[in-house]
């Protein structure tokens, strides 16, 4: 029993550490990308891996907190609902159990939608303005409300870009795989194709991550450009009023 407890504890620690590391890594990557985009737009720095990485180092803690705490709050909110639904399932009230589970899913969906919306602008507020994550989160939501139409427009453009790129990549990969399968069915050629298939799998993996990186960079850059336009317009408005 103790041994299994130790193994469970070991597994738990490994999972927690994995989550923490992935959050830090995402924070650094996003911070670098946003910081690098702003440096490029302002012609401030020479843009290379080292300068961009330095920008990421400044903001990775704040961004990691921004990714972690709102999701944690959303998860904690759903705990009473999950417990209630378990109680209903145990006491054979299946209908009530299903209702509570559906409610939990709905709450989680709404919470994650709000988090995703807030994060669009909050990421930039943390990375560029060095704002604490809580303040950035609420201000991000406020920015979404005041710039609803432009945010939605760019959101749709980015979604479409992702979909089109994904579909095109799938079509290219699919046609390559189909050609190989057709040739592979011929007995003599079949075995000779094995090294080619291995190379193709490696190429697909590398190209797949490169395409994903390109799409992500495009999305983050367009959001950053819009953020810059919106904040500059806001500043100009304030200066005129003064």
């Amino acid at each position: 029993m103790t041994v299994w407890l130790i193994l469970g504890l070991g597994l738990l620690i490994a999972i927690v550490m994995g989550v923490i590391i992935s959050l830090l890594l995402r924070g650094w990557a996003v911070g670098s990308l946003i910081g690098g985009t702003f440096d490029a737009l302002d012609d401030r720095n020479e843009i290379n891996f080292a300068t961009v990485a330095m920008r990421g180092r400044r903001s990775f803690k704040g961004l990691a907190k921004l990714y972690f705490f709102p999701s944690l709050v959303a998860a904690l909110v759903t705990v009473p609902f999950i417990l209630t639904s378990i109680y209903f399932f145990i006491s054979n009230s299946t209908v009530l159990g299903i209702i509570f589970i559906s409610l939990t899913m709905l709450i989680l969906m709404i919470a994650h939608l709000v988090i995703a919306i807030a994060e669009i602008w909050a990421e930039r507020l943390v990375a560029i303005e060095n704002m604490p994550w809580q303040q950035a989160f609420w201000q991000g939501l406020q920015m979404f409300k005041t710039n609803f139409v432009r945010t939605m427009q760019l959101g749709i453009v980015n979604c479409l870009t992702g979909c089109v790129t994904g579909c095109l990549s799938l079509a290219v990969i699919g046609s390559l795989v189909a050609t190989l399968v057709i040739f592979g069915l011929i007995p003599i050629i079949g075995w000779a194709l094995l090294p080619l298939i291995t190379l193709l799998i490696i190429a697909i993996l590398v190209l797949g991550s490169l395409v994903t990186a390109l799409v992500l960079t495009f999305k983050y850059t367009t959001w950053s450009i819009l953020y810059r336009e919106l904040t500059m317009a806001g500043k100009e408005k304030m200066e005129k009023n003064d």
């Binding site: 550490m17 891996f49 080292a50 990485a53 990775f60």
Partner: protein
């Protein structure tokens, strides 16, 4: 200020990895020395598995702590290498943790391309560029010390491996338990086809 080359840093990494494998193999050899039966061995191996699961975490702690405290891991210290930040000082703990978690992860992607980056003129890996660090050669001409360390660690690894093979192969308790287990499994399999025969006779 001379920077550490790719090969020096590779040997330093090999020394660190040999140290880790030595610890693991020695632990396994010690388990073998206690002459465990099957259930005792299973318990010990499960504890070892829990440790192995957290090996990356242990490595991060080892790398980060030694680098911020002494300027490098055992491997790097043996080769006379030191990790410094942009200001030429030893790394702070947070920067050291960042270098050895996010940095190493990024360097490890795309077939360890980030590590091969050291072969370039500036001798900086991706994790160096990310953390703004540089690995310098503090003490040159450490070939003899390095050779002694490598040979000692390789010897420990081989001895521990031999110890594991010898202790486990001569463990009669374990052999009896395994044979008993194999017999019980095969008897269950033999019992199965007897049922239809009975039905046929009926």
């Amino acid at each position: 200020m001379t920077k550490g080359t790719f090969w020096e840093r590779l040997i330093a990494r090999i020394i660190d990895d040999l140290l880790f494998s030595a610890v693991f193999l020695v632990a396994l050899a010690f388990i073998g020395l206690t002459r465990p039966n099957l259930s005792q061995l299973t318990s010990s191996l499960l504890i070892l598995a829990a440790l192995m699961l957290n090996e990356p975490l242990i490595k991060i702690a080892y790398n980060s702590w030694l680098t911020s405290k002494y300027g490098g891991t055992l491997g790097k210290l043996v080769l006379g290498l030191e990790v410094l930040d942009e200001n030429g000082k030893k790394l702070k703990k947070t920067l050291s943790i960042f270098r050895h978690t996010a940095g190493y992860l990024v360097s490890g992607t795309l077939f360890f391309l980030g590590y091969f980056w050291i072969l370039r003129k500036d001798k900086l890996a991706w994790h160096d560029l990310m953390a703004g660090t540089v690995v310098i050669k503090k003490k040159p001409h450490r070939a003899f010390v390095t050779a002694v360390f490598v040979i000692t660690l390789v010897t420990i690894n081989i001895a521990a491996l031999a110890g594991i093979i010898l202790t486990f192969s001569s463990n009669q308790n374990l052999r009896n338990d395994v044979e008993g287990l194999v017999k019980s499994i095969s008897s269950v399999e033999i019992d199965k086809p007897t049922k239809p025969t009975t039905l046929e006779t009926v």
